[in-house]
């Protein structure tokens, strides 16, 4: 059940959104109106999330509270992969990247994606304290550093 919900979360933005939705539902637990839970599910929770919660969550308040707490903890503990891309990714690309990374690390992760056209292409990746610059810009810079002396000598002569 939890994994179904976590599958919906691919980015940090979506994780924050889900976290806010869960907080709303947590507040609904304390409403005197018995219809408050369903009302929140209808009005403040996305359909995809609401459907899973409606089917999978227990009916008693204590069970719901427990589930919400576990789900929230899981969300907060999800490893974050920071990605800097040269383009604003489409939804498909985000899904594809998320799946790719989940397979790669063999665990649930969320993406924190930022766009920076200066990197030209590729990606700059930070994950659990590790960093890798696989951008086209850095490759170009390396290529330039390796060949600039030759290029300069070609341009100005070997004086």
């Amino acid at each position: 059940m939890l994994s179904d919900l976590l599958l919906l979360v691919r980015t940090k933005l979506e994780a924050d959104l889900l976290c806010r939705e869960l907080e709303c539902l947590e507040e609904a637990l304390f409403m005197t109106d018995t219809g408050g839970w369903n009302e929140i599910l209808r009005t403040k929770v996305r359909l995809s999330v609401a459907e899973i919660i409606s089917y999978e969550f227990p009916q008693d308040i204590e069970g719901r509270r427990k589930q919400l707490r576990e789900l929230k903890e899981s969300l907060l503990n999800l490893p974050v992969v920071n990605l800097t891309l040269a383009i604003e990714p489409t939804l498909d690309l985000v899904t594809e990247l998320s799946n790719h990374l989940r397979d790669a690390v063999n665990a649930e992760i969320i993406l924190d994606i930022q766009s920076d056209s200066l990197i030209v292409g590729g990606a700059v990746i930070t994950f659990q304290g590790r960093f890798g610059d696989y951008s086209a810009a850095s490759k170009m810079e390396r290529a330039w550093n390796e060949n600039s002396a030759n290029l300069i000598s070609i341009a100005y002569g070997n004086k």
Partner: protein, 196 residues
């Protein structure tokens, strides 16, 4: 004849006696006087003679003394000349020795001075050469630093220019699929590097 007459005769007799005594006394006086003059003349002559003899002797002695003095002076002069000549010879010899010594000393000093001068000149040449080499090295270092700085400057500018051009050009050329491919490649490389 009376007393008066007799008195007169007696007076005349006394007078005659007195006159006779006077006349005798006068003759005696004259004789003494004449004797005195004679003695004085003799004494005077003798004194003159003695003085003349003394003078002649003094002259003789003086002449002898002068002669002797002249001889002694000549002898003294000769001796002095001899001594002076000897002294001059010794002095000349000493002068020659001193001159030789001074000459040798001067030659030694000149030789030493030449050597020192040569050493100084060689040292100066070496110092100047070393100084020039150092300055040349410093200038070369500055030139190298300047070249390196210029190359770095150019490198930075050119690098930025190239990157900016590629960013623009790749933005115009790259499709989404190309970006996706580059991103996937990046993820693969990250996996190989154990970044993910």
């Amino acid at each position: 004849m009376n007393v008066e007459f007799v008195g007169l005769i007696v007076s005349c007799a006394v007078l005659a006696v007195v006159l006779a005594a006077y006349e005798r006394l006068m003759r005696k006086y004259k004789a003494i006087r004449s004797s005195q003059e004679e003695i004085e003349t003799k004494a005077r002559d003798k004194a003159v003679r003695i003085i003349e003899e003394a003078r002649d002797k003094a002259i003789l002695i003086l002449n002898e003394a002068n002669l002797s003095a002249g001889n002694n002076q000549q002898e003294l002069e000769n001796k002095l000349n001899l001594v002076a000549e000897k002294q001059v010879d010794v002095y000349k010899e000493m002068l020659q020795k001193i001159s030789k010594s001074i000459e040798d000393e001067a030659l030694d000093e000149i030789t030493d001075f030449k050597k020192e001068l040569e050493t100084e000149v060689v040292g100066s040449e070496k110092m100047v050469t070393r100084k020039i080499d150092e300055e040349l090295l410093e200038v070369n270092k500055q030139i190298d630093a300047y070249k390196a700085e210029k190359i770095r400057e150019f490198d930075t500018k050119a690098g930025k220019l190239v990157r900016e051009f590629l960013r623009i050009s790749t933005g115009m050329v790259f499709e989404e699929a190309d970006h996706k491919e580059l991103i996937k490649q990046a993820l693969e490389e990250a996996k190989k590097d154990n970044v993910i």
